[in-house]
């Protein structure tokens, strides 16, 4: 499925992976998280080989996954269970994470009573509560309506790299190029079969980024160009 994939992330960096549908972006994300074992090659976190899923690399799903029988607070506490903390400490940390994602006051509300955007915030809070070093985000805004998605996008960077989180890097998979330009520090472009990295683009734009800026559009054009297959013979006007 993949060939010659060589990726890295730096401290406090959000990298994005883009590519055509069906290329294996979500699978690659699961390989990075240790959910799927690569046939060849390896994943390393701070130099240590990743062989199975770990709370140090937390995954956020595309189809927003919360537990309907647990309140927002209880959902977040699931990310803390492996640490075997006293109940009071669990409550304190979980409440703090809900604050970080902007859900203070919603501790006792069930996910079913919340909008999709709020549910994704719970999932993010749950992931952050686990004290991850890396966050893997699998098209996290694709099931949200455009308005909610945009609101969350504008907040998510500061939310993730908030001073009290342990996060060092975020890997975002997306099919939306403008989302990627808006959020990422660096973009890996996947294409071909087997999939390989055909381009790496560093986005050097100040935050918050404005999609109407000329430079934003230029980055979009670069990504489009990398993803558009060049016809054999080279004449696109025919």
């Amino acid at each position: 499925m993949f060939e010659n994939i060589n990726m890295y992330t730096k401290d406090r960096e959000l990298i994005a992976i883009v590519g055509p549908s069906g290329i294996g972006k979500s699978t690659l994300l699961r390989v990075l998280g240790g959910f799927v074992k690569p046939l060849k090659g390896e994943i390393r976190l701070l130099g240590k080989k990743v062989t199975s899923p770990t709370p140090k690399i937390a995954l956020i799903h595309q189809s927003i996954a919360t537990f309907p029988w647990l309140t927002a607070l209880e959902n977040v506490k699931l990310g803390l269970k492996y640490r075997k903390l006293p109940k009071e400490e669990e409550d304190r940390l979980a409440k703090h994470m809900l604050e970080v994602v902007g859900l203070q006051g919603f501790e006792d509300v069930y996910p079913k009573q919340m909008s999709g955007g709020m549910r994704q915030r719970i999932a993010i809070a749950r992931a952050l509560a686990a004290n991850p070093l890396v966050l893997l985000m699998d098209e996290p805004f694709s099931h949200l309506d455009e308005l909610t998605a945009e609101g969350l996008r504008q907040e998510v960077h500061s939310m993730l790299f908030y001073e009290s989180t342990t996060l060092h890097s975020v890997v975002l998979v997306s099919h939306s190029l403008s989302e990627v330009v808006e959020l990422a520090d660096r973009v890996y472009v996947l294409n071909g079969r087997p999939a390989t990295v055909i381009g790496e683009v560093e986005i050097k734009l100040e935050r918050p980024r404005n999609p109407k800026d000329e430079s934003f559009q230029e980055y979009l054009d670069i990504l489009y160009a990398l993803l558009t297959p060049v016809k054999k013979g080279g004449n696109n006007n025919e």
Binding site: R30, L59, H61, P68, W69, G79, K81
Partner: protein
């Protein structure tokens, strides 16, 4: 006659009864289902009656069957009809409900096409309704087959007072062999019976796959009324097949599709009148039956029956404790074994078909052999509790698979995202069970548990008073099922009927107030699919 040939013929006779009753259930189901979708009055009565009868264990029909068929009709035909009727009551309800659900969910586009081409009753049935009902029927055939085999092996022989009645069949034959201590022949009988059971279970699974692939449609089912999840009838088949999972979730009542045109309303009119007519007839028969029963029983008998009521209720309480114990043991057993199997692909591939086949194999047929082989050892361990142990064991092995399969099916339906979350956050085994697996499978557990409880009554009915060998009658000190069996054996039909009536009422109340409440709770809070946000 050569014994092996005899066993073979007896197996054929029993299987013939099973397929006859299943066939009859399907054909009547088509007609009643059609009337139900055409007549609101009939639909309400039909579904209510079926739901009630479905929640009452087969065994409570026993005295009614005996009175009617053995006394009113009499002769070999009366006994044969009594046996067939008992088996019929074991298989018919789920098939009828399955067909009704299928008819109610025929896509309106297809209905409009059939209206467009002005198909009549036969045309619609042949081209639309019957084909569309096959996947549901097929899904119900495996459990119906297993239920029928379970009850046929015990209902082929019964006694009232000093008279013993039996029909030719494998249940009778194995019973006779065991009673006359010809254990090798009894084992031969079981072995020969196992062959068609394995073959038919396999063929029914293939048939179910075939019907789903040929007649299954992916339709959006709009559920507007509550109803029970149809887990029980999907539990004995391989539910890793997605359409079966879907079928298992359908509910009993589905919103009505209103007639699209005046022409259609006019054409439905005869069916509506027929439905109303049948409803009135059915209600009339029920009222007449109740009235004639009450008036035909002398006052002294009524007084005697009423005086037994506290005793009946005490017996019922004791049996509820047994049922509760069986249910708890089954649940605990299932939670661990089900999780173990569901999370190990290779073990699952072997064990699930093996348990399915075992579940179709009637416990009453082999239990006397198991009893004979273990009685001396069990007696040294349990002493005066020996009979109690065997009764509970019979109840357990007859019913644990309902909750087991239901739970297993629930685990197979836990969304993949939840598994990833559990791995991601290093959940311990207990955390997995407590926060994810048990809540996710809660609707399945309740449904399976309710089936286990219903079926446990069948196990108790057989075990609480059972002449298991020539020299031993298995019996408990107290129990409503024992009371029914003893009263029937003594020819005290009024007491047996009174016991059954009180039992039926209590089970029905339990079903309405407990099972449904739990199902409502499960549906309200514990639906794992709702945790995955897909707008």
């Amino acid at each position: 006659m050569n014994e092996i040939l005899l066993i073979f013929l007896a197996s054929l006779a029993s299987l013939g009864r099973v397929f006859l009753t299943i066939g009859l259930s399907i054909i009547t189901g088509w007609f009643l289902g059609y009337i139900a979708i055409k007549s609101k009055a009939f639909e309400n009565i039909y579904i209510s009656v079926v739901e009630i009868f479905e929640s009452v264990p087969v065994i409570s029909f026993f005295p009614v069957v005996l009175i009617f068929f053995v006394y009113r009709i009499g002769g070999y035909i009366g006994i044969e009809l009594a046996v067939d009727f008992l088996v019929f009551t074991a298989v018919v309800w789920n098939i009828w409900i399955g067909i009704y659900q299928a008819f109610k969910t025929v896509p309106s586009d297809l209905l409009e096409v059939s209206e467009n081409y002005r198909l009549g009753f036969l045309g619609k049935m042949a081209k639309l309704y019957i084909p569309y009902s096959w996947p549901r029927i097929a899904a119900n055939l495996i459990p119906s087959f297993a239920d029928a085999i379970f009850y046929i092996t015990v209902s082929e022989v019964f006694s009232i007072g000093s008279s013993s009645y039996h029909v030719f069949g494998i249940g009778t034959l194995i019973g006779e062999f065991t009673a006359s201590q010809e254990y090798t022949l009894a084992l031969d009988g079981l072995g020969i019976l196992a062959i068609p059971i394995i073959i038919f279970t396999y063929l029914l699974r293939r048939f179910a796959n075939y019907t789903v692939s040929k007649y299954g449609l992916d339709t959006e089912i709009k559920v507007t009324k509550r109803g029970r999840m149809r887990i029980r009838y999907a539990t004995r088949m391989s539910n890793t097949i997605a359409p079966f999972v879907k079928l298992s979730k359908y509910v009993t009542r589905i919103g009505s599709r209103s007639a699209s045109s005046e022409e259609e309303t006019r054409r439905n009119l005869p069916w509506r009148y027929l439905g109303i007519g049948i409803s009135v007839l059915l209600l009339g028969l029920l009222v007449y039956g109740a009235f004639s029963t009450i008036s035909s029983v002398p006052k002294s008998v009524w007084l005697y029956l009423i005086s037994t009521t506290p005793n009946v209720l005490f017996n019922l309480l004791i049996d509820y404790i047994r049922v509760l114990f069986i249910a708890i043991v089954s649940l605990v057993f299932s939670i661990f074994l089900g999780y173990f199997i569901a999370t190990r692909e290779r073990v699952e591939k072997v064990l699930i078909p093996a348990i399915q086949t075992y579940a179709s194999f009637p416990a009453p047929a082999y239990f006397p052999l198991l009893f004979t082989a273990t009685i001396s050892f069990i007696h040294t361990v349990f002493g005066s509790w020996t009979d109690e142990f065997y009764v509970i064991l019979l109840g357990f092995i007859s019913t644990f698979y309902y909750v087991f399969y239901s739970y297993w099916l629930g685990i197979k339906n836990v969304p993949n995202q939840y598994w990833e979350i559990m791995k991601n956050y290093n959940f311990s085994f207990w955390h997995k069970l407590r926060y994810v697996i048990i809540p996710s499978t809660f609707p399945y557990i309740i449904s399976g548990l309710s089936s286990t409880i219903n079926s446990a009554w069948g196990g108790l009915a057989i075990g609480e008073y059972w002449e298991i060998s020539n020299s031993y009658t298995l019996q408990v000190s107290h129990g409503i099922m024992k009371s029914i069996a003893v009263a029937t054996a003594n020819g005290n039909i009024p007491l047996a009927a009174w016991d059954s009536l009180i039992f039926g009422i209590v089970v029905m109340i339990y079903s309405i107030f407990f099972t449904r409440k739990m199902m409502d709770l499960a549906r309200e809070k514990y639906v794992a699919e709702e945790g995955i946000y897909l707008p």
